[in-house]
């Protein structure tokens, strides 16, 4: 309606201009009209955004997007390069040949398949425990009123801010007294008690989610004879599928990428346990590669460490996550919308 009215008014203006002057000026008016159109096209009007603005936004987004993936592209391209390509200044991006040797050597020095399997375990088991414990705790906080609930929420927020270093040393001693240092239990045990890595975030996500489950639904279930536990796992939990997906994805990624605490508790610093993960292998890539290159025989020559091998090692350690990301990208990108962290 509004648009039509404005259009009509615009027509009137043009009509007035045309009526008054003679033929010569009429051409000028036409030019003016085209100028007007160009101006409108570039700067936009009330209804439509101008071309200039759209252009600037796209240009900025593409530029920043390129900057964002620049390190990954750089990594990808240099991981395929041979030593000659690295030294050749005429080769910037595209390697002269599709060379997989770097990957083979990096994978051998990292003991890829063993570390990959252990990475999956180190990230997967605590994730499952996190899911179980955080959903239960989040439900308890969202559904019931009890004295001291606000204190509990406050402490949960506080544990999110508090750096883990302050509790790390006694925990280390505790684990070593319990005899679970250097085993996967040192990650599983805190996770099952709701104290895993970033567990406060997960508890808050579940808390936020279970608060949105209508209370009437649960009351109806209880009238039908469902206990507290049954109304949790039969009614509330199935409706929290988005929260479950988000928590499991993020928990997996964060445990996978955690190197500081993994090297401390699970793989051990002073005494090496059998556990290792891809990220830990990458952390000690240079020393591992040295060890590996010493075992080389004349039959299978090993090139000394260089940028290409470094980059292919890095690529190998993030490859599983990258594949997971591109397969499940929808869940990752929509995760924050779905959890309702930003409030409804």
């Amino acid at each position: 309606m509004l648009k039509r009215m404005q259009k009509q008014q615009g027509d009137k203006d043009i009509a007035e201009q045309v009526i008054t002057p003679s033929g010569e000026i009429l051409i000028k008016d036409k030019k003016q009209i085209t100028k007007d159109k160009i101006r409108k096209f570039l700067l936009g009007s009330k209804e439509k955004e101008g071309f200039l603005k759209v252009f600037v936004i796209y240009a900025l987004l593409i530029c920043i997007g390129f900057i964002y993936i620049y390190p990954i592209l750089h990594m990808l391209s240099s991981s395929f390069m041979t030593l000659d390509d690295l030294l050749d200044s005429s080769i910037n991006w595209i390697p002269s040949s599709f060379n997989l040797d770097n990957y083979k050597q990096a994978a051998k020095s990292m003991d890829f398949w063993k570390s990959f399997g252990q990475s999956v375990l180190i990230a997967g088991l605590p994730t499952i425990c996190n899911l179980i414990s955080c959903s239960i705790i989040g439900y308890g906080l969202a559904r019931f009123e009890f004295p001291g609930k606000k204190v509990v929420l406050g402490i949960i927020l506080f544990t999110f801010i508090l750096p883990s270093q302050v509790t790390m040393i006694p925990t280390y001693v505790l684990y070593s007294n319990m005899g679970i240092l250097g085993t996967i239990w040192s990650f599983v045990l805190p996770a099952i008690l709701g104290m895993g890595i970033n567990a406060p975030i997960f508890i808050l996500i579940f808390w936020q989610f279970f608060r949105q489950v209508p209370k009437v639904l649960i009351e109806a279930a209880q009238i039908d004879g469902a206990g507290y536990w049954k109304s949790f796992y039969r009614i509330s939990l199935p409706s929290a599928a988005p929260a479950i997906i988000t928590v499991s994805l993020f928990s997996f990624v964060w445990y996978w990428n955690e190197s500081y605490l993994t090297s401390m508790y699970v793989s051990g610093i002073t005494t090496k346990s059998g556990w290792t993960s891809l990220i830990i292998q990458l952390k000690n890539f240079a020393t591992n590669y040295d060890k590996y290159s010493q075992t080389a025989t004349a039959a299978n020559a090993v090139t000394s460490i260089n940028e290409s091998i470094n980059m292919s090692g890095t690529m190998l350690s993030i490859l599983p996550l990258l594949i997971m990301y591109f397969v499940l990208q929808r869940y990752f990108v929509e995760s924050i919308d779905r959890t309702g962290i930003t409030g409804e």
């Binding site: 308890g140 801010i161 750096p163 990458l282 890095t314 996550l321 962290i341």
Partner: protein
């Protein structure tokens, strides 16, 4: 209706039921549900916190039998702060780089989010790219990328910036800032989650507010400051806190490496006690920094809400006065009546 139909026995039973019995049962169930957390908090939060404070006051040496404690009071702290220089220099560079990079990350995330919130085609694709770093950002990978120079922009001459910075600023300030420029890309990488949080909160702002503002002649610039910003203010605080926590726990942060090193160092004065003292000071600084930002960005009440409150107060006062006048007039009327009778 149904109340009248209850028999006497049922009424008795109803009286027996104490008020709030259901609520009590609910409370017990709630505590049962969070029992795992309570055990966890006692075992992995309260106990370690207290013990680590005890450690910080002791010199601990590992012997074949176990740990040997020797009470030394505050000398761990004084040793770290005044005798050894490594902790203080790392701390200053950590503080400077955090205080600079947090606003950069949050503002950058906000700009990207606002651009993506326009009618942009391929929104999903851009979100995919901007969220990608969240998946792969971790200490060793960032270390590797920075080591090979992939973390800096080759098109920007970082050398020139570094040189000018070092010429104008004192060393303690110049180093972290020039580090920042050298690793610009990886710092921008920290903003993946923040961008998504901003986008989803931007989408929740009521469109009709912008329309109303436009009708009143507000420009886009004014709309941003007066509508967008106040609406997403709580999210800004959330993002700041998230960014600080993320930077503090990242392995690129050299202080946590320092704590670990001194924990396992075999020298006489270092060890568990020394590392605990370090960790305590570090944690206090982090918590204080979060508190500082929170105080700065805590959502103050709306101007509109304030005015409503004021108006309500004035209204109450008026009513009280009215009542007083009424009471007085009633009294006067009684008096007058008495006087008339008398």
């Amino acid at each position: 209706m149904s109340k009248k139909k209850l028999s006497k026995e049922e009424k008795k039973n109803l009286k027996k039921l104490k008020a709030g019995r259901l609520a009590k049962r609910d409370a017990v169930a709630g505590i049962l549900f969070i029992t795992p957390w309570i055990i966890g908090a006692l075992l992995f939060l309260a106990y370690p916190l207290i013990t680590s404070f005890r450690y910080a006051l002791h010199n601990i040496r590992m012997t074949g039998v176990g740990m040997r404690f020797k009470y030394i009071g505050y000398s761990n702290f004084t040793e770290i702060l005044f005798s050894q220089t490594e902790f203080t220099t790392e701390m200053i560079s950590y503080l400077v780089s955090t205080i600079i990079s947090v606003p950069i990350i949050v503002v950058f995330a906000l700009i990207i989010a606002i651009m993506l919130n326009q009618n942009v085609k391929g929104k999903g694709f851009f979100r995919l790219i901007f969220f990608l770093p969240v998946i792969i950002v971790s200490g060793p990978i960032l270390g590797m990328l920075n080591q090979e120079g992939a973390g800096s922009l080759t098109s920007i001459d970082t050398q020139a910036i570094t040189a000018t910075l070092e010429a104008t600023l004192p060393g303690a300030l110049a180093d972290p800032i020039s580090d920042l420029f050298e690793n610009m890309v990886t710092i921008l990488w920290y903003s993946g989650v923040q961008i998504l949080i901003f986008i989803s909160s931007l989408q929740k702002i009521d469109r009709s507010m912008y329309e109303a503002a436009k009708i009143d002649g507000g420009s886009g610039w004014e709309c941003f400051w007066k509508i967008t910003l106040p609406n997403i203010k709580p999210m800004i605080l959330l993002n700041i806190v998230y960014t600080i926590v993320f930077i503090s726990n990242n392995e690129q942060n050299s202080i946590i490496g320092l704590i670990q090193d001194s924990m396992f160092s075999g020298t006489q004065e270092k060890g568990y006690g020394y590392a605990s003292a370090m960790a305590w000071m570090y944690s206090i600084v982090v918590v204080l920094m979060v508190a500082l930002f929170a105080a700065l960005f805590m959502s103050k009440k709306d101007v509109y809400e304030k005015q409503v409150k004021k108006a309500k107060k004035a209204h109450k006062k008026e009513q009280r006065q009215l009542k007083q006048i009424e009471r007085r007039s009633a009294k006067n009327a009684k008096k007058n009546a008495k006087a008339a009778r008398g």
